[in-house]
């Protein structure tokens, strides 16, 4: 299936302007909450520096931290698996499921399984997974991917949720009351938890020092699943490792404030060993991360703690919606992570930015996101993933700008054409002119004026 480019998908999204405004304002509200929370801590910038430095240390010592973590986790009775890519990750999951003859599975808080397309893979193998986080469940009912890594159904209004629940949970048609709808979801999910035999969760932080891991949630579904099912599988990208438990005091303060403006998530659940008779598995996944680690300009994108602050602040994201990015992780961070996985398919994403730099400023681990977007553009152009007409245009410009006399002449002629034959410029083939007037070309350039004045 050919993916629609960000620009084309965004154009469709924006056609419904009131809805675009609503989407923009909803996420801007989250950004404002983040600002309020950040400004409440005088040491905020210091915390960001610490988090960034801890992650720098992690990325330079992954080999030892991961092995330390594995040893400690195994000593605690956790079964550790290693997956080189999405396929291996999915196979490991299916294998555990089949070996234990599991039929009822619940899942909570895992963007990694979205990245690996686990649900689709398991469905193909006859296994259904129920996403238990409210937003995830809503988009799962609708057969859509999440549009945001923290707020997966942020593109939907309560009317949409009501319609979806009417179809799947037989709620009253047209009842848009959030309390009523949440209660319906709660009852529905309660059943799923009680019946569940296996729970899948993500991992926010895995601690090398202790072999334990932390999952941060607001709804508590990771705990509900892990505490009711006989098997718990936690999936993590290998960059989720932190050296010491003490470092949680930096990351837990940054994560929720950056994500939603809360001081801390409702639940920060620490898992260290299985309960008696419970199996606890951890799947540690690479899936392109070593490749990114080897790219000097892009390695520090692996510091990401998936708070989505860069989504909420990005005006392009707010006005184009997460689905326009056609990848599991959208937004500015997605635009620097995804070209690593598939340059050709994701060549449009680093260009879906004005390079305004707000993303880098909100990032709690100080990833230079907008600089990396610029650098990806250079890589994509060099590798031939930029449209030929754009390339030719740039070559012509570069030539003209390198010859001052030619530049002056071309400018003079260009302005003359614009004044004399405006229809040549002011037409439907000019994307500028579609919704904007052209600047009025003056008779004299500055340099012409200056030459006369001298």
């Amino acid at each position: 299936m050919k993916t629609v480019s960000h620009a084309a998908a965004a154009e469709i999204f924006i056609k419904d302007e009131p809805r675009t405004d609503w989407h923009d304002e909803t996420l801007w509200f989250v950004r404002q909450k983040r600002d309020k929370a950040a400004h409440g801590l005088p040491e905020w910038e210091l915390l960001r520096s610490w988090a960034s430095q801890i992650k720098d240390n992690v990325l330079s010592n992954l080999d030892t931290y991961l092995i330390d973590f594995e040893k400690k986790a195994q000593a605690n009775g956790i079964i550790v698996h290693w997956a080189a890519d999405a396929e291996e990750h999915n196979k490991i999951m299916l294998n555990i499921i089949q070996k234990n003859k599991i039929q009822k599975i619940v899942k909570s808080k895992s963007m990694l399984t979205e990245e690996c397309h686990l649900n689709e893979y398991l469905l193909k193998n006859g296994v259904e997974v129920v996403d238990t986080d409210l937003g995830e469940r809503i988009v799962q009912f609708r057969n859509e991917p999440p549009s945001h890594i923290v707020l997966p159904a942020i593109h939907l209004k309560r009317e949409d949720v009501s319609e979806t629940f009417h179809k799947h949970l037989q709620t009253e048609k047209g009842n848009n009351d959030p309390q009523y709808l949440t209660e319906a979801a709660r009852q529905h999910l309660r059943d799923k938890f009680i019946q569940s035999q296996l729970a899948i969760t993500g991992v926010n932080f895995a601690i090398a020092e202790t072999g334990g891991f932390v999952v941060c949630t607001n709804e508590g579904n990771a705990d509900m699943g892990a505490h009711s099912a006989a098997i718990h599988i936690a999936c993590m990208g290998f960059e989720k490792i932190i050296p010491k438990a003490a470092h949680l005091s930096v990351f837990l303060r940054l994560l929720a404030r950056s994500a939603t403006g809360q001081p801390v998530t409702t639940y920060s659940s620490h898992f260290h060993k299985p309960r008696p008779q419970q199996q606890l598995h951890i799947v540690i996944v690479d899936n392109g991360r070593t490749k990114q680690l080897a790219r000097a300009d892009f390695r520090n994108s692996l510091k990401c703690i998936r708070c989505a602050a860069c989504f909420n602040t990005c005006p392009v994201y707010r006005k184009s919606g997460g689905h326009s990015y056609h990848t599991a992780v959208a937004g500015p961070i997605g635009a620097i992570l995804n070209p690593n996985m598939d340059m050709k398919a994701n060549a449009d994403l680093p260009f879906a930015s004005t390079l305004c730099g707000s993303c880098s400023n909100v990032c709690p681990v100080k990833i230079d996101i907008h600089q990396q977007l610029w650098k990806w553009r250079q890589v994509l152009a060099a590798e031939g993933y930029v449209a030929t007409n754009k390339k030719i245009g740039m070559k012509v410009m570069a030539f003209v700008f390198s010859k001052p006399k030619l530049y002056q002449l071309a400018g003079k002629m260009g302005r003359w054409v614009m004044r004399t034959f405006p229809a040549l410029i002011q037409n439907k083939f000019n994307p500028w002119y579609k919704q904007r007037e052209m600047p009025t070309p003056p008779k004299q350039s500055f340099m012409e004026w200056y030459e006369k004045r001298r």
Partner: protein
């Protein structure tokens, strides 16, 4: 009155971004007149063209070698380089390149200034003989703000300041209006404005809407590129709001 800085032996080279040269000469004229009024000796290298940003931001920085060479030839001898554009100045600071002339490149990068930072940080301007009795909305251009730190940024926990606002507050009769989303991008973004036309225009429209609600007569800023984009939208909407570069306001008597 104007504080005359003793800079008689200092050469200021005026860098005029290409689109200002071709489409908005009044911005460069105002910059030149303003600097001269303050007492600066201004040299205009007539063979200057472009900073190379359009190519580089499109992924073709490697195509701008000749363009970079031309820039270095025009500005290598300057004590100070001043331009009425944060974006072009930032591009030079971050990306001007010539492996065989690194000393000249470093000299240029260390001595190039956007107009308002030059007036505040180098000339220490505290008053201006300018008058502009209008309600004016301020638009923060991203590269000047987040790249050159012309003002504090809403995302960071740091003391508030703004060099351009400081200058605008010196203008007699001017009523300054700061939008609530005080550093939201306008959506110009170089070639983004045509390759992501829908998002670009939507972002611009939303900036315009906020200024309209504030009842401004003018939108001003430090980058003509952003203003050109906003002007295009305003004109299409047949709005009464006009755009004007900060240099033009500071030069108004």
């Amino acid at each position: 009155m104007v504080k005359i800085i003793n800079i008689k032996n200092v050469k200021i080279h005026l860098f005029v971004p290409c689109y200002i040269d071709q489409f908005y000469p009044q911005v460069a004229i105002a910059t030149l007149q303003l600097l001269e009024k303050i007492g600066c000796q201004v040299i205009v290298p007539i063979n200057q063209t472009c900073c190379g940003q359009p190519m580089a931001n499109s992924g073709f920085a490697n195509l701008s070698k000749e363009c970079d060479r031309n820039f270095i030839n025009n500005f290598k001898e300057a004590d100070y380089i001043v331009a009425p554009s944060g974006s072009c100045v930032l591009h030079i600071k971050e990306h001007l390149k010539d492996e065989n002339r690194t000393q000249e490149v470093t000299h240029i990068q260390n001595n190039i200034f956007e107009l308002s930072e030059f007036l505040i940080d180098i000339l220490n301007i505290t008053q201006l003989p300018a008058r502009f009795p209008h309600k004016v909305g301020w638009h923060n251009s991203c590269h000047g703000q987040r790249g050159l730190h012309l003002s504090s940024m809403s995302e960071l926990v740091a003391p508030a300041f703004s060099k351009p606002e400081k200058l605008l507050n010196m203008v007699d009769g001017l009523e300054l209006s700061i939008p609530v989303r005080r550093d939201e991008c306008c959506g110009f973004g170089g070639t983004f404005c045509v390759f992501e036309e829908a998002v670009s225009v939507k972002m611009g429209k939303d900036r315009v809407t906020e200024h309209e609600a504030n009842g401004v007569e003018y939108i001003t800023g430090g980058d003509t590129s952003c203003l050109m984009h906003l002007e295009g939208i305003l004109k299409r909407q047949k709005s009464v709001i006009k755009t004007i570069h900060i240099a033009e306001i500071l030069n108004k008597m």
